[in-house]
């Protein structure tokens, strides 16, 4: 007798790839929260925080994206399944980079575009992370 739960075979992210991807979430989320704090308080230090958080997020996101693209290009079993993840991460990176440029404007010139972009990027990075880790569930085998 055999039980087969064949929905998602296990092809977990490499641990380093997982760290890179996981790191994007709090960094982009932190940028969003900082933008909200600036918009509510006009205290520019929050904008400085947001700028650095986005810069840091782009470093993590950039390396995760590189990794994902290489896997897709290698067309191995992991890569085939991760095309959607790689695309979502690409969108995250591009919009995140535009957001970094917007955050290089001075003071309130960043608003409201910066806040809107930070919110979008936060959603995108959550989606990318979901897709990225979705394939890593341990499948039930017998």
């Amino acid at each position: 007798m055999s039980i087969s739960v064949g929905r998602t075979p296990t092809h977990p992210l490499h641990p380093v790839h997982a760290v890179l991807l996981g790191g994007c979430v709090p960094l982009f989320l932190g940028a969003l929260l900082s933008d909200i704090a600036y918009a509510r308080s006009y205290e520019v230090q929050w904008l400085n925080f947001a700028s650095w958080l986005i810069a840091g997020a782009l470093v993590f996101c950039g390396f995760a994206l590189l990794w994902a693209v290489v896997e897709v290009l290698r067309r191995d079993r992991r890569g085939r399944r991760r095309l959607g993840y790689a695309l979502m991460l690409l969108v995250t990176f591009v919009v995140g980079f535009v957001n970094a440029l917007v955050h290089a404007k001075d003071a309130w010139a960043t608003m409201p575009e910066g806040l809107i972009l930070s919110a979008l990027v936060a959603i995108f990075v959550l989606a990318a992370t979901w897709l990225g880790f979705a394939g890593t569930r341990t499948a039930v085998t017998a």
Binding site: E43, Q45, L47, W52, A100, A104, K105, A107, W108, A109
Partner: protein, 430 residues
């Protein structure tokens, strides 16, 4: 007939529309055009590409000659002509301690540094002397050293005032002296935290009792927070005897040079306005300075035009903002001002010379020259006239960047050039 009148009506409306909607594109003068604010994803940046002068010279009008009277200086900024004809040169480079708050500060700092000299500031005053009056400044001594990015210079009787980036100091001066007797005495400390705009410009009242010190803002447009702007973007009036100060005029983003109009008590200033609002915003300006006047920064520019980048806004304060007298053009970076006199010859006798260091925030560079703003009845009148050009060549290379301009009453204009580390002297041919 019907068709004719229809055409006429259309034609008329086009004409009228053309009249009503004609944008004011004036870049200079009392009533400059103020186009829509604009800023792309990246700020426009065109940084000077420095090369040496070689055999070249700045170009001056026909009937005038220009010579380099001192080279190899350590970042000359402002000059002062002493009663005996000696020239003092303030050399220095300040502001290096301004913290890099954002990734932008680091990147922009690296890019902008390419357009300036790599020489370390001298933190000193150099004295140049032409003993025999032949136009060759054969004498050169270090008058004072150990200063802190000296910039503004002023003399009244036996008191030589120097505006360091952190303090206004006084040295005793006797006619003919080539070296200061001792260490300077501090008149008053000046706002020096961060020093985003570090230059401290200086002028002395005709009676010598009052000093005026220009103090630039600590940011382009409040991006370092309002706490950093206490005692910034203003012109102080300082009591020469006691060092006590009060704000004389406020809201002047970066008052880079000050001068008293000869024969009056009126203080004039050139000021550098804010960046990143487009190629033709905001005009740098020349203005007489009103006691107690508010000139807009950071809340508004050219009078009452709101800058939306500043929060919270202050409409009540903006309602009091004064329009400057004369627009010099956006991004020209006026750093020097000097009233002329008849010694400079007919066309250039009545007006002011303005040294323009040159733009970074503009695709088509502006400034990089010395202009003359003609005056009539004590007020600016007419378009600025090029007086010394060719600092940025037609080949796109930049050979010099004018800073301070000073009138030598013997009949010359002295121009400090902080890119080629040269002092130039322009004389009318006799």
């Amino acid at each position: 007939m019907m068709r004719f009148s229809l055409l006429t009506a259309v034609g008329l409306s086009i004409l009228l529309g053309g009249c009503g909607g004609e944008p004011n594109t004036a870049r200079y003068g009392a009533n400059p055009g103020l186009p829509e604010q604009q800023r792309g994803l990246l700020p426009s940046m065109k940084i000077a590409d420095p090369v040496g002068w070689g055999d070249m010279r700045p170009t001056v009008p026909q009937g005038y000659a220009i010579t380099a009277i001192a080279t190899g200086l350590k970042v000359p900024r402002q000059t002062l002509v002493l009663p005996n004809g000696d020239i003092l040169v303030a050399e220095g480079k300040g502001g290096g301690d301004a913290p890099k708050l954002r990734p932008k500060d680091i990147i922009a700092g690296i890019i902008k540094a390419k357009g300036t000299t790599s020489v370390k500031g001298g933190d000193r005053l150099t004295l140049l002397r032409d003993a025999d009056g032949d136009g060759v400044y054969e004498g050169r001594t270090v008058f004072a050293e150990g200063l802190n990015a000296p910039y503004g210079l002023a003399l009244h009787d036996g008191s030589l005032y120097v505006a360091n980036q952190d303090a206004l100091v006084r040295l005793d001066y006797r006619n003919g002296q080539t070296r200061a007797d001792g260490a300077p005495t501090t008149v008053t400390a000046l706002p020096a935290a961060i020093n985003h705009h570090w230059t401290k410009s200086l002028a002395v009242s005709p009676d010598g009792r009052l000093l005026y010190v220009g103090i630039g803002s600590n940011s382009n447009i409040t991006e370092r927070g309002m706490a950093a702007e206490v005692d910034r973007a203003m012109i102080w009036q300082v009591d020469a005897a006691t060092g006590a100060h009060r704000p004389f005029a406020t809201g002047v983003r970066n008052p880079t040079a000050l001068a008293i109009q000869p024969g009056t008590q009126t203080l004039w200033a050139v000021a550098n306005e804010r960046d990143e609002l487009g190629p033709d915003l905001v005009p740098d300006y020349l203005t007489s300075v009103r006691d107690g006047g508010f000139y807009g920064w950071p809340y508004s520019y050219w009078g009452k035009t709101i800058d939306p980048r500043v929060r919270p806004q202050k409409p009540a304060l903006v309602a009091t903002a004064i329009r400057p007298d004369y627009a010099l053009g956006a991004h020209v970076a006026a750093l020097g001002v000097a009233f002329s006199s008849s010694v400079m010859g007919g066309r250039f006798a009545d007006g002011v010379f303005v040294g323009e260091h040159g733009s970074w925030n503009r695709d088509a560079p502006s400034g990089y020259k010395v202009v003359f703003v003609p005056f009539r009845d004590g007020r600016p009148a007419g378009q600025p006239v090029d007086f010394a050009v060719g600092f940025m060549g037609k080949d796109g290379k930049t050979r010099g960047r004018p800073v301070g301009v000073t009138l030598d009453p013997r009949g010359a204009l002295v121009i400090a050039d902080d890119l080629s580390n040269t002092v130039w002297r322009v004389t009318p041919n006799r």
